[in-house]
């Protein structure tokens, strides 16, 4: 029984790490291939965060219960809060830099 749980957790670790690496690789591909700055930023925010969360969750499962996994949870929280703010700062900076998105700007603010 204990052996089964051990092998199951090992499998879970590899699933998490592989999904994380898939997302990170798609981040790199999206950064190269996407045509517009804002779409590139989509790849740089969502795929990157999903990959980071997946890799760190794999590390937590690998570690088990302890202080190190608590530290990893703090790292996840820090990364999520920080990175979304960083992406927002970059986007508003690009807006100030006069980089226009290749789109139709809709003007429907429902008052």
């Amino acid at each position: 029984m204990i052996d089964f749980i051990h092998s199951l957790s090992q499998l879970l670790v590899y699933v998490f790490l592989l999904t994380g690496i898939y997302f990170l690789f798609s981040t790199a591909l999206g950064m190269i291939r996407f045509p517009d700055f804002y779409t590139r930023l989509h790849a740089g925010s969502k795929c990157l965060m999903a990959g980071g969360i997946a890799v760190l969750m794999g590390c937590i499962v690998l570690e088990g219960i302890g202080f190190v996994s608590l530290k990893l949870i703090v790292l996840i929280l820090f990364l999520v809060i920080t990175n979304s703010i960083a992406i927002h700062v970059i986007a508003s900076f690009a807006d100030n830099y006069n980089i226009l998105p290749k789109t139709i700007v809709e003007n429907d603010s429902d008052e």
Partner: protein, 240 residues
């Protein structure tokens, strides 16, 4: 003609980079050439005896604050003089920073994350002899707090919250405290900044209160580096 000139310039830069790379490779190879016995007796001694003599697990800390503590004093003096001269040379009291203003979201996040950054910096300073970090890194993380305030809110707000005179006072306390702690070694009858030879109670290796003087030296260096970097950043950002 101008095209050839530009091309020559590019070639020149590439050749410079390649030459620098080769030079660095040779230097690194010379440093790591461990066959030569005369170069490595000192590092062998540090590695094998460092934990027993100083009581600090972190080997870098034991070198920085025990074997080579006098050099650390010199490095700290560099920051002290840099901060003093910069605050003397840049007398602009009011200035505005370039750039866009951030939206209110960044303000909120900055405010929210400041206490936790402070906890991280203090932890790095106090656990410098047990885990990675130490005075210098902890000081840099502590100095991030005024830097964040300066970036998001502007120089004036940051200087009204943390007065420059107070920062200077904290920095001076750090510098004087380091020297006073060093003089303790002279009082007990050994060298200046002696720790391992003077037997300041090395304690049990691996606990919080151990390694003699090293934690206190870490605290002094930490507050000194933090205040000094904050002063340097705030005076450099004031541009007219």
């Amino acid at each position: 003609m101008s095209k050839i000139n530009e091309r020559l310039k590019k070639l020149h830069t590439i050749a410079l980079v390649v030459a620098l790379a080769v030079f660095l490779l040779v230097v690194v190879y010379e440093i790591h050439n461990l066959d030569n016995n005369s170069k490595r007796y000192l590092s062998e001694h540090y590695i094998s005896e460092g934990v027993r003599e100083t009581g600090a697990i972190n080997l870098v800390t034991s070198v920085l604050y025990d074997y080579r503590a006098f050099d650390t004093l010199g490095e700290a003096t560099v920051i002290l003089t840099a901060a003093a001269i910069l605050s003397l040379l840049v007398p602009v009291s009011k200035a505005t920073m370039l750039g866009t203003k951030f939206s209110i979201i960044v303000y909120q996040t900055t405010k929210f994350s400041i206490p936790f950054l402070a906890v991280l910096g203090v932890h790095l300073i106090f656990f410098g002899h047990l885990s990675p970090g130490g005075g210098f890194v902890g000081g840099v993380v502590l100095s991030i707090i005024p830097i964040l305030l300066t970036i998001t809110y502007g120089v004036e707000f940051s200087e009204s919250k943390l007065k420059p005179a107070k920062k200077k006072l904290v920095e001076d306390i750090g510098a004087i405290g380091f020297i006073l702690l060093g003089l303790l070694g002279v009082v007990t009858g050994s060298n200046f900044l002696a720790n391992g030879q003077a037997n300041f109670g090395p304690g049990n290796t691996g606990e919080l209160i151990s390694a003699g003087l090293i934690p206190y030296l870490n605290v002094m260096i930490g507050i000194k580096v933090g205040a000094g970097l904050a002063i340097i950043f705030n005076s450099l950002i004031k541009e007219k």
